[in-house]
């Protein structure tokens, strides 16, 4: 019992959807709970945190002064840190505050802005500490999550693709929604992994797995905004969702703002 690897699940600013994905592994959950010691998982257990940990899964983005301190302590206590989900890997939807007037945003939501103690930015976990692996997705894919945990336990690199969503669609035999129907789609610049969900539903990919390696956002942004007649503002909006803070998406949205 004492020899089992110690797993901790941490939450920062987020919707809990990624750690819920772990609880959604109904068929594997009891096996996971048997293979590791769940040392800390606030969403599921009442056990108080006590390091050190072999694996820390971190959900959510850094948005408060206290959280920027807490993440450093988690790093000190953890052998392996894996950030999970769009908030933890790119700042999340809440990273849109980074480009707005923060004070005005707070005033819009809260009657007493002086009660709010938050940072003017929402940034990924990797902006504060070294992260051993980043698992993308809004939310993460539970099969990928299990693969990352299994790989970490085995001391090998997780088998998670970094190619585009287009490759996944081709492999699944899904007809391209852009070519066949003229539907704007972020698939060409988005990392595969969701299981081709949107294109299976006859809609364009909305980029919830964030930018793939070497994403040619400039070419796709031009095609969507000009050739498809979507316009620059709507194209900027497409890049400004759950991975708005990921550099290629952030930059492409800015390019369309300039028009």
């Amino acid at each position: 019992m004492a020899d089992k690897p110690r797993l901790a699940v941490w939450k920062f600013s987020s919707c809990d959807g990624c750690q819920l994905s772990l609880l959604d592994c109904e068929d594997e959950l009891l096996a996971v709970a048997g293979a590791v010691e769940i040392a800390y998982f606030l969403e599921a257990t009442r056990t108080p945190p006590e390091g050190p940990y072999d694996i820390s899964l971190v959900e959510g983005s850094i948005t408060t002064p206290a959280d920027s301190v807490r993440i450093a302590e988690i790093r000190r206590q953890s052998k392996t840190v894996i950030s999970i989900g769009a908030c933890a890997t790119s700042g999340g939807f809440q990273a849109l505050r980074n480009i707005g007037d923060y004070d005005e945003i707070v005033r819009n939501v809260y009657a007493h802005p002086e009660y709010i103690d938050a940072l003017k930015t929402s940034t990924p976990i990797s902006s504060r500490i070294h992260v051993d692996f980043e698992l993308r997705g809004c939310p993460v894919n539970k099969h990928q999550l299990l693969e990352v945990v299994a790989a970490s336990l085995a001391g090998r690199r997780p088998n998670v693709p970094n190619y585009s969503q287009c490759v996944e669609c081709k492999r699944s035999g899904i007809v391209c929604v852009m070519v066949a129907h003229g539907t704007p789609c972020l698939g060409p610049v988005t990392q595969a992994g969701c299981g081709s969900l949107c294109t299976s539903c006859d809609r364009g990919c909305y980029g919830c797995f964030g930018p793939k390696e070497e994403a040619n956002t400039r070419s796709l942004g031009k095609r969507i905004s000009e050739d498809f007649g979507v316009g620059h503002r709507a194209t900027a909006d497409m890049f400004r969702t759950f991975n708005a803070g990921a550099e290629p998406f952030r930059r492409e949205a800015l390019r369309h703002d300039e028009h």
Binding site: K11, F12, S13, S14, C15, D16, G17, C18, Q19, L20, S21, L23, D24, E26, D27, L29, L30, A33, I38, F41, L42, E43, A44, T45, R46, T47, T63, T64, D67, G92, F93, Q94, R97, G100, I105, V106, N108, V109, Y110, A111, H112, Y115, I116, A118, S122, C138, P139, C194, L197, C198, S200, C201, D202, R203, Y206, C208, A234, D237, T241, F242
Partner: protein, 444 residues
């Protein structure tokens, strides 16, 4: 409604104590609790939501109406449908769209999936450990593996419904203003039938297991607020009603209820315009709409000893399982009658009636109200979202006050456990309301 200077019942020695729970476990999000007792009198109770604010309402401004369902889904990973359909109902109100019955039935089906997933997760895995004195569901699995396996299979069915209709369990992709992107295939929907037949019996099994728990003796005269629909147990459409006879249109919610910003919480506090706390969620729905439950759900509720009007908040776990039983029956009926609609959605004309719209649905933990104002191009000018946990927060504090007052003879650890259990009665969704509990009991 509740005075802060209640005196102790005779026989209990006056005490000074402070209870602090800094991290509330087994809830969604980050919350904390401070209790201060001086000379046997509670001088301070604060249920604090310390989840960092994410400012969704402000960040929605300037975006197209059509972005609202996918964006608001990200407020909560546990009840994304509540947000997606709340936003969709509001936009359809603004555009005067009334979707055909088949689309409404599919929406009800996917919402049944969310209720099953959320209710079973909460009841079996997050709340049941409180009644058993265990830290978590993994420990129940050692004591009663069959119960946990049944719960996991039932929860998985909820997720499967979400996937079949919505494409994904957390943050579904197939819902939009006007209907769905793609019509779920008849064969895929019909394939749910066998597991739903099993699920009705499984819900009863869990209900009966939970009915054997020891329920703390505590009652409140709640002001219950929920939706009501003339023809069905309200989930995704209807008016707003209260247990004191209020019956209003969805858009009139702000005339009767408001949110205040208090210093100790990043969630706003919902109150009636008269300043009273009120209850939303399973007990409110059950009390207001009991007659519309199925005959079998009512029969099982009576069998496990639930009264016609539930006043004991700890019985919420039983009400959730009665609702789970009900929605399994509902989902089965919808699946059996399902025919693929001619079109997956109705068209949206962004110029027709653009202006403003309000929408509400019954999230597993209570009503989730949305209001948007739009410009002529269909872009959002202003967004207001009132989540269930923000509305319940004053009522949670009110319950805690009564529970602490009645249990001052318990030692700090036992009292802390009881307080946490009391909060978990609400299945608080703290990310929604802006996450878990830190308890500090200050006995001076």
């Amino acid at each position: 409604m509740t005075s802060t200077d209640q005196t102790l019942p005779e026989g209990i020695q006056a005490q000074n104590r402070t209870i602090v729970v800094d991290e509330l476990a087994r809830v969604e999000g980050e919350g904390a609790l401070d209790v201060k007792v001086e000379d046997g009198v509670i001088t301070n109770i604060k249920f604090r939501i310390v989840e960092p604010p994410r400012f969704f309402e402000a960040l929605l401004r300037g975006r197209m109406y059509s972005d609202a369902p996918d964006v608001t889904a990200r407020i909560c990973g546990i009840c994304p449908i509540a947000y997606m359909l709340g936003a969709i109902n509001a936009m359809e109100d603004a555009f005067d769209i009334v979707p055909p019955a088949q689309i409404k039935r599919l929406r009800r089906l996917i919402y049944c999936g969310e209720w099953i997933e959320s209710h079973v997760l909460h009841s079996a895995m997050l709340h049941a450990p409180d009644f058993l004195g265990l830290a978590d569901a993994f420990l129940i699995a050692k004591v009663n593996p069959d119960l946990v396996k049944t719960a996991l299979r039932l929860k998985k069915l909820g997720n499967t419904i979400l996937e079949v209709v919505g494409g994904r369990a957390v943050h579904p992709v197939n819902l939009k203003v006007g209907g769905f992107y793609r019509t779920p295939r008849k064969a895929d929907v019909k394939a749910l039938e066998g597991e739903l037949e099993w699920a009705i019996g499984a819900s009863v099994e869990l209900l009966e297991a939970f009915a054997g728990f020891d329920y703390p003796d505590f009652e409140q005269d709640y002001l219950c607020v929920s939706m009501r629909h003339p023809d069905e147990y309200a989930i995704q459409e209807g008016n707003l009603v209260s247990s004191r006879g209020l019956d209003i249109r969805v858009a009139d919610f702000p005339k009767h209820f408001y949110e205040e910003h208090v210093e100790h919480s990043n969630a706003l506090h919902g109150r009636t315009r008269e300043g009273e706390p009120y209850l939303v969620g399973p007990i409110a729905r059950y009390n207001n709409n009991y007659e519309q439950l199925s005959p079998y759900a009512k029969e099982m509720a009576e069998k496990v000893g639930l009264p016609r009007v539930v006043r004991n908040p700890y019985q919420s776990i039983l009400v959730r399982m009665v609702e789970t039983l009900y929605v399994c029956e509902e989902a089965l009926a919808i699946v059996r009658e399902y025919e693929e609609p001619a079109a997956p959605s109705v068209p949206v004309d962004i110029h027709a009636g653009a202006g403003a719209g309000a929408g509400v649905t019954e999230a597993p933990r209570g009503i989730c109200w949305h209001h948007y104002s739009l410009n002529d191009a269909g872009r959002i000018l202003n967004a207001t979202i009132v989540p269930p946990t923000a509305q319940n927060q004053p009522q949670i504090e009110d319950d805690l006050r009564g529970v602490v007052q009645g249990n001052l003879d318990l030692d700090d650890e036992a009292l802390k456990w009881r307080c946490e259990q009391t909060i978990r009665n609400y299945d608080p969704c703290i990310s929604c309301a802006t996450h878990f509990l830190k308890l500090r009991i200050d006995r001076g």
